[in-house]
Amino acid sequence: MTQSTESLQPDNGQFWAEAALSRSACYRRTAVAQPMLAAGGQQLPERFDPQDVERAKKAGVLDLSGLLRAGYRGAGTPELLGNAGLPIPARPNLAAAGADGDWVLRLSNTEYWLLGSLTNRGETLAKLPGLDACDSGCLDATPDACYPLFCMDSHGWLMLTGEHVSDVMAKLCGVDLREEAFPLGSIAQTSLARINGIIVHQEINGLTAYSILCDNASTDYLWTALIDAVQEFDGGPVGLASVVG
């Protein structure tokens, strides 16, 4: 998708809903942000206001639901990851970053989820095979015993950033997510704010970041829960530009 952000806006500065291929489940919460497009044509919030960067350093909440993510399950998945030049985490509940900034999450012995790079807005993942759910031949595109999972359609993706991420999570989740118990690259599949979610400890441009993947239907609720939780740390919503510069 080569469309520029400028061309997506009518005269009154509003973003046309039709301009993006799809929107996040909590798009109403980020409607005031300057929009941008991911590699696949989905809508992402680029910037809320000039204080984005400051909030991102304390406790930012970023809606990345429009950014490409994918999943594969089966014994043949390491072959696919190897062919794509992506890392293979050593054991379940570990995550590893690829050269382009994509992340590979190992959720069980044979299930892997991939999170698109914030820097290139998911361009690398868009080249992976079998990700078009409408393509009846999607299974033929992957190695034997490697089955695509369409987690982009089933799960939303929110990200908490900044120095207070573990303090914020302590208010929402019963699992110890402090740095010493939950180091970089750890994954916790657990309950947070009374819904199920996958929490990943990442680092984006030197900034601590916890990605949270939850059911699409719960994403809007989780957004409100996170925004409420970051208030005491002077945090709030942030756009993608505040994290990737």
């Binding site: 959720l107 019963g174 599949q189 657990t190 309950s191 199920n196």
Partner: protein, 97 residues
Amino acid sequence: MKIMPCPLNGPRNISEFTFGGEVTPLPDVASAPDSEWAEHTFYSYNGTGVAREWWYHVPSGYWFVAERHRVTDEILRTYDPSELPADALNNQQEAFQ
């Protein structure tokens, strides 16, 4: 809150789990009479001792086996179903008494 040690995810609140019933052998689908299916479907062991049970960790979609004492409710051991002993699905009640 009671804590369940999940073999995949580590210790978690019991509210994250769903009970899946005892680990019992499936009747022969081709030849088992109705009475055997009724026994399998509707009846469960009601004594004391150690139970071997299916449990499901909902956030990660993971089924595993837990051994729990029916009197103390203590969870003695949890493990992946691939570690079930070969005779686990046969005569399990006798094996635990």
